[in-house]
Amino acid sequence: MGPWERLPQLFAYGLVSGSVITLGAIGLSLTHSILRFANFAHGDLMTAGAYIALGFLLVFQRIPALRGHFGRLSFGPAMIPAFLLALLGTGILAIAIDRLVYRRLRRARPVMLLMLSVGVAFVLRNLILFSAGADPYYYSHRIQRAIHILGVRLKVDQVFIIALGFVLVVLLHLFLTRTRIGKAMRAMADNPELAQVTGIDTERVIAWTWGIGAALAAAGGILSGIENKLITPQLGWQALLPLFAAVVLGGIGSPYGAMAGGMLIGITQELSTAFISTAYKPAVAFGILVLMLILRPQGLFGRR
């Protein structure tokens, strides 16, 4: 099959990996627009989420009623509480890190916070490495057969990932537009000084930002684990370049832009494998990143 005929299939794969990237990119965009710095530890929040879920999964799988799997999916009832608890746990982790580390430098130059986040990234990743070891862990060993949908072949897991990604994005949208905190987050992203003047409790909004951003990242990490079957401590760090590319492509300061950017990066990366080696997928993301920074630094939908 020549490279051109593979494109629809690769496009479908792109939707899958795009969903994962999107979930990570939204959190990155939220913390960037509200806290004003590029969080280099965000990928490692994805990793943390994936591992926390794994921990809970192993616990819940001991309960006979929760074992097994849903139909053709690779996971079963045990994954539901594991997933939810992991999102909660990663959110709390991010808030704790903010309290301990970033909060002291609220008014500092973004570069100092960036440097701090690089330190946090290494510490977080190696804590996971220390606790869980370097070998990959498997969410499931189940082998799946693909189903045919709309002319492409996808595993049921992959369809699930696209669907869940979509659901989470919709939930986030509702949160940002219907809840007081959500609106306050958008307000702070617009103008943090005015938010203060208005009487908005900025620290509370910041805590929510970390919580939600990290929870979405955790979801992305877990879905990545379901997609690849295995998780390693490098999961998040490797995702960092596509994440940044997605945020820059979508536009700094726009979580909706990050959603679009995430899907576009995912799709482009997969499509590129028709023509170049898969090892260079991150390079493709990087190329798009640089292109955007030169041609249109505010991204497709950004304002700043």
Binding site: V120, F122, N126, G133, V248, L289
Partner: protein, 340 residues
């Protein structure tokens, strides 16, 4: 006596590596400490310098090698200059595209570059031999020095064993002198350069870009110069490393060893201070060696001790930035304290 010699030899080995890192840190200091360019892709330039030197001054591809390129066995100084040149050209190309970017965008771009370079080194085996690395890189004057030592030992049969052991490490002594000499030369050159009008412009740019531009300085051009010079230094450090270790593999240029640890060195010693850069390099490498030594006493697996050591360094960076962001020596003073 034997033990003393062992310690001494280890110290020499330690100092060589610390010295090489000091060169990298000085390069980063030019970029960040003096010009405010946030380069998280240090490992990229360091690696490029190392591989270039290996390809220029290293052995031709062997029968088991995947690579088909390079290995001209040219003298070490050619390799050294070649590594500086190639790193500089790479920095010129990258910098020309990215130098006008905001600080955090530049950081993202440089991390991407380092990652792309890492992928190339890992995958383009025809050039770099991929994950199998490049072996048998010659060290300068290795043969002659070892030959001289051997004949000296042979002509003095009654030599005590500890002296023999000491002399056996003579090559490393030579290399240490080479590295330290290079470091000293670098230090004095940089100190002079940074007190010159050129250096003043760099510092002005770091303080307030807009003001500097308003004074008619071509900010982008100066930034690019600093970026390129810093990269050349990193490349040369890579060359020094390649010809000492005699073997190159991708692991030594992973983000931690190639970039992160250098940042910790610079921040600890004091960004904006050449003495601080060198001090930081020796201190942090010393800490690293110490943790290596101590970890032998802990009942942990290799992976765990490795992770623990990195956690310690990461933690150190966080603590320093939060509580002593100027590092130990702080910024270099170019104006007398008495002048207010």
């Amino acid at each position: 006596m034997e033990i003393l010699v062992g310690i001494l030899n280890y110290f020499v080995f330690f100092s060589i590596t610390a010295g090489i890192y000091a060169v990298v840190t000085l390069g980063l200091n030019v970029q960040w400490g003096y010009t405010g360019l946030f380069n998280i892709g240090v490992a990229g330039f360091y690696a490029v310098g190392a591989y270039t030197s290996a390809l220029i001054s290293g052995p031709p591809p062997g029968s088991l090698d995947w690579r088909v390129f390079g290995g001209w066995m040219l003298p070490f100084p050619v390799g050294l200059l070649g590594s500086a040149l190639v790193s500089a050209l790479l920095a010129l190309f990258i910098g020309w595209i990215t130098i006008r970017l905001r600080e955090d965008y530049l950081a993202i771009a440089t991390i991407g570059i380092a990652e792309v370079l890492r992928l190339i080194i890992k995958n383009e085996a025809w050039l770099t031999n991929g994950v199998w690395g490049i072996k048998n890189i010659p060290s300068p004057l290795l043969g002659p020095i070892q030959g001289a030592v051997r004949s000296f030992i042979a002509s003095h049969p009654g030599m005590p064993p500890w002296l023999e052991r000491l002399l056996a490490g003579a090559y490393d002594w030579f290399y240490l002198l080479l590295v330290l000499g290079f470091l000293a030369l670098l230090y004095f050159t940089l100190e002079r350069a940074l007190r010159s009008p050129w250096g003043r412009v760099l510092r002005a740019i770091r303080e307030d870009e807009v003001a500097a531009a308003a004074q008619g300085k071509n900010v982008a051009s100066f930034k690019l110069q600093a970026f390129v010079i810093g990269a050349a230094l990193m490349g040369m450090a890579g060359s020094l490393y390649a010809h000492y270790a005699r073997f190159l593999s991708v692991e030594k240029f992973e983000p931690f060893y190639g970039t992160f640890i250098v940042w910790v060195m610079l921040v600890t010693g004091g960004a904006g201070n050449n003495k601080g850069a060198i001090l930081g390099a020796f201190l942090i490498w010393g800490l690293w060696a110490l943790t290596d030594f101590l970890s032998g006493y802990l009942p942990l697996t290799d992976v765990q001790t490795g992770a623990l050591r990195i956690i310690l360094v990461g933690f150190l960076l966080i603590v320093i930035i939060l509580f002593k962001p100027r590092g130990i020596l702080g910024e270099e003073r170019f104006v007398s304290r008495l002048l207010r």
